[in-house]
């Protein structure tokens, strides 16, 4: 696919935006993307977009393939956090989220961005006192799987990577259900 701006280079960067609640996908080449970021028009305030451009050339081959796919969000708007009212327009304008629940609301677009900006997609650092001791076994299992996935991708073993990814997804689902129940309790008691 050719770049929608210059029409010359191959489009390797795909940016999805919501303007006045309407979804718009832009397919552009790296040169035009950098120009756009500098002009701060289309991408004004989107740190995420800037970040994606910055690291697009530094990803390992396995991830680079994912990156060339369009950043697909789930359903079209209205994408608005039910807890705090923060919407997609404010998210893209500021690059900031409104509350903890925004991470669930904007998950479809966040996932790709998080993968691009961080070394992994699973927290492995310290936990607050309230979370200690919970889900320890599954968490360490998940961390081990995540490392395995990274190894597969590095060795370009895509079939194995896909199987490991499915395992991770199942484990994450079960973890999510558990932590959701626990968190709701905590917020009620607070």
């Amino acid at each position: 696919m050719l770049c929608e701006i210059c029409g010359k280079n191959e489009a390797t960067i795909h940016i999805q935006e919501f303007i006045n609640s309407k979804k718009k996908v832009l397919h552009i080449c790296k040169v035009c993307a950098e120009g756009k970021a500098a002009a701060k028009e289309m991408l004004s305030g989107i740190d995420l977009a800037q970040l994606m451009l910055n690291i697009s050339s530094e990803l390992p081959p396995g991830l680079a393939i994912q990156k060339n796919e369009s950043v697909e969000a789930a359903e079209s708007p209205p994408m608005k956090c039910p807890s705090c009212g923060w919407d997609i327009v404010r998210f893209t304008n500021t690059g900031r989220l409104g509350c903890s629940d925004c991470f669930k609301t904007f998950r479809p677009i966040l996932d790709q961005a998080i993968r691009n900006m961080h070394k992994g997609c699973m927290h492995v650092g310290k936990k607050p006192a309230s979370a200690k001791g919970a889900s320890q076994d599954r968490m360490s299992q998940l961390i081990a799987l995540q490392k395995k996935l990274d190894d597969h991708v590095r060795r370009e073993e895509y079939e194995k990577a896909a199987r490991t990814r499915d395992k991770i997804a199942r484990l994450k689902d079960s973890l999510k259900n558990r932590s959701r129940g626990r968190k709701d309790d905590k917020w009620q008691s607070d």
């Binding site: 740190d47 995420l48 970040l51 530094e58 705090c84 009212g85 923060w86 404010r90 500021t94 690059g95 900031r96 989220l97 409104g98 509350c99 903890s100 991470f103 966040l110 961005a113 998080i114 900006m117 961080h118 070394k119 992994g120 997609c121 699973m122 927290h123 492995v124 650092g125 310290k126 936990k127 607050p128 006192a129 309230s130 979370a131 919970a134 889900s135 968490m139 995540q146 994450k172 973890l175 999510k176 932590s179 968190k183 905590k186 917020w187 607070d190």
Partner: protein, 360 residues
């Protein structure tokens, strides 16, 4: 906890992260770690209404007051501080550039020695930071993690099993930790190897920035190296990696200096000597020229050209010559830049009054 304006008191102190000795502090001037934390069940600062900002300030003040660890610390509401006082805190790196311009209810908790502080309602409800001289990320981590543990026993932080600590900007989720080291790299700059080094650091997933904000890349040859990624690695892993990279950079900086001393001694001596001449005798000097000349002078001190000058005195001048400190020490606001340039030159001359170059 002590309430009120701490600025006049801290101005009498030397700036710890510049004035104290620390490991490798000839090149690694200071190390800093900050943690971003939010209260569970509260909107993040960019989304919250002023009333919620105020209640977060009250909650966190009460928690800090209840903890013995904070009993000697200062608590100050940002609206009690003038713009000049805020600027002084920013120049001393106690608070961030963004925090200085906050209009919404915000507050600051800081230790009397300025080594630790908590910004309340910056971009996140809490930004804890600890800053010490030299390369000592491990020591800082132990200290800040202890404070974090203490707080987490009393406050429910916004946390997710998968994404870690939740922050208003997704670039900070996970550990919520940014670790950085400020390096003085005149050798790499003079031998034109700095861009190569910056590229290499970037490829390792670390960020390189000038220390005086956006676009101040070359001022004073001071660079801040920090981690970019905060999710998927533990705090220890991030710190160990950063530490290893920093040690490599220090090694390269030292070998650059040695090579220049061997191969282009006159060039190097000329660079330092001219800067010393300017600092010692100028009557009008801009902030940028002062910082660049101080960098050259610092290099000269490191190479043993000025035995009568302590490197920490030069370090402190990097802060004292900045506009906020100049005005605060003069006891008045000075809008006119040239007037500040005159004051700056006088301050530097005074500080370097008794300094002589060594023969050789």
């Amino acid at each position: 906890m002590i309430s009120g304006n701490p600025i006049d008191r801290i101005l009498k102190n030397r700036v710890g992260w510049l004035a104290d000795s620390g490991p490798d502090d000839d090149i690694a001037i200071s190390s800093r770690i900050r943690l971003a934390r939010n209260l569970a069940g509260h909107k993040f600062p960019p989304c919250a209404e002023p009333a919620e900002h105020s209640s977060v300030v009250v909650i966190l003040r009460d928690v800090c007051e209840a903890l013995p660890a904070f009993s000697e610390d200062f608590f100050v509401r940002l609206d009690e501080l003038s713009q000049l006082d805020r600027r002084v805190l920013m120049e001393r790196r106690v608070v961030s550039r963004d925090f200085v311009s906050k209009q919404t209810p915000s507050a600051l908790v800081m230790t009397a020695d300025e080594s630790a502080s908590v910004m309340i309602n910056e971009e996140d409800h809490m930004r804890l930071q600890c800053i010490l001289s030299g390369l000592r990320l491990g020591e800082i981590w132990e200290r800040i993690s202890e404070t974090d543990d203490l707080l987490s026993e009393h406050i429910a932080f916004a946390y997710d099993e998968e994404l870690g600590f939740l922050t208003s900007c997704p670039t900070n989720i996970g550990t919520g930790m940014r670790a950085s080291v400020m390096l003085h790299l005149p050798g790499l700059v003079l031998s034109e190897q700095i861009n190569q080094m910056k590229q290499a650091i970037g490829k390792l997933g670390l960020a390189v920035r000038g220390i005086f904000g956006e676009g101040t890349d070359n001022v004073g040859n001071l660079y801040q190296i920090s981690n970019q990624s905060t999710l998927g690695e533990s705090e220890q892993q991030i710190i160990e990696k950063l530490d290893t990279v920093i040690k490599q950079i220090i090694f390269h900086e030292k070998s650059c200096r040695m090579k220049m001393l061997e191969r282009s001694r006159n060039f190097l001596m000329n660079h330092v000597g001219r800067a010393y001449g300017v600092l010692k005798h100028a009557y009008i000097i801009s902030s940028q020229e002062a910082l660049n000349s101080l960098s050259a002078l610092r290099l000269g001190v490191d190479m043993g050209m000025f035995s009568s000058l302590d490197i920490h005195t030069v370090n402190e001048l990097f802060v004292l010559v900045q506009p906020g400190h100049l005005q605060k020490n003069a006891g008045k606001q000075i809008e006119n830049a040239t007037e500040r340039d005159v004051l700056r030159a006088a301050l530097i001359r005074e500080k370097l009054k008794s300094v002589r170059t060594d023969k050789g």
